[in-house]
């Protein structure tokens, strides 16, 4: 096996390594008053990690941190106010939703005495232009239109309250 002069020189003196370790610690104690206690004190462990893990690759760590900052900035810059899901809903939508909830509750609780409260906001369901939608057709909500009477399960046994005239 071939070796470089450096390898030959260092290997030929490797027997002195234990003496050099001892010598090194003596110098450290004499000059800095510290022995090798890196494994017993958290501060020394942190310092050792800093010196051996972070500091030698400080440019790589800095690059990584910069990349994270750029990603965060990019994310924040793409967040528009309109994208916020927590924005308050349109009052008309809320009113329509509440109306549907009340209708549903009325259907479930008093299917035979369906009526709408008088203080409802403007009805959203359109009045049929002529004859109204066929049975089973979906009704498109139109602003300003009055709701069609809802056909409940007790359609066959209509009460006076089911008459459209009774709604007004």
């Amino acid at each position: 096996m071939n070796k470089t002069p450096r390898q030959i020189l260092l290997e030929s003196h490797s027997a002195a390594a234990p003496q050099l370790d001892r010598l090194r610690e003596e110098v450290l104690v004499a000059e800095f008053g510290t022995a090798n206690r890196a494994t017993t004190f958290p501060a020394a462990i942190l310092q050792k990690l800093w010196l051996e893990l972070i500091w030698p690759s400080r440019r790589a760590w800095a690059g990584l941190a910069a990349a994270w900052v750029m990603l965060a900035a990019l994310y924040l810059s793409t967040q528009r106010p309109g994208d916020d899901n927590a924005q308050p809903m349109n009052p008309e939508i809320i009113a329509a939703w509440m109306q549907q909830q009340q209708l549903l509750a009325a259907l479930l609780d008093h299917p035979r005495s369906l009526s709408l409260p008088k203080d409802l906001p403007a009805p959203l369901l359109p009045a049929p232009a002529r004859g109204g939608p066929a049975r089973g057709e979906p009704v498109e909500p139109v602003e300003g239109a009055r709701p069609e009477p809802v056909e409940g399960p007790a359609k066959s046994a209509q009460s006076p309250a089911d008459e459209p005239s009774a709604w007004v």
Binding site: N2, R6, L9, L10, A16, V27, A44, K48
Partner: protein, 182 residues
């Protein structure tokens, strides 16, 4: 010669701030190459350990003098080199020798391009020991840390031309000794 290598990252700034852990990292990195360099010059084990220790102490006390953190290695070797010179002066040994200035021929092989068989290691070191100390110092610095000529000039406190000359003659002498041995 073009050298393209990732610069070694060492906690020199932390060491300057007085962090003992940083000094431990630095000493651990250089203790063996430094010892090898010193030993190849003084050829005595205990003296080499003492000189390395003295170099570490001086480095710990005078790091503020280092202007360029990237040159910590050559700066530390320079301190060790000065310790060796003082040792030579104390013991009355001669280190300085006259050198003929000569430019290095082009296409010189780098230290990592010179390969020796494992069984030749002892012979290589024996031949190295036969070189005059100044040539040996330059050649070891060149081999062991792949220092540039500027760095070697800084370590040995010698003009660049002198370093070129010493390195050239050291290589030539080593080659001649090697061929003679074979």
């Amino acid at each position: 010669m073009l050298r393209v290598a990732e610069p070694e990252r060492l906690p020199v700034a932390e060491a300057r701030a007085g962090a003992a852990a940083a000094w431990r990292v630095l000493f651990r990195r250089y203790q063996l190459p430094l010892y090898a360099y010193v030993f190849e010059l003084v050829r005595h084990e205990q003296t080499s350990l003492d000189l390395v220790q003295a170099a570490f102490v001086r480095a710990a006390r005078h790091l503020a003098d280092l202007r360029n953190d990237a040159k910590f290695g050559s700066w530390l070797f320079g301190i060790a080199h000065q310790e060796c010179l003082q040792h030579f002066r104390r013991t009355g040994r001669e280190f300085v020798s006259s050198d003929l200035l000569a430019d290095l021929p082009g296409g010189d092989p780098g230290p990592d391009q010179i390969l020796l068989r494992a069984e030749q290691a002892a012979e290589f070191r024996a031949l190295l020991a036969q070189l005059p100390p100044p040539q040996r110092a330059v050649l070891i610095l060149y081999f062991i840390e792949d220092f540039s000529l500027d760095d070697i000039a800084r370590v040995t406190d010698a003009p660049l031309g002198t370093v070129k000359s010493r390195l050239h003659h050291a290589k030539r002498a080593l080659k001649k000794l090697w061929e003679h041995k074979l």
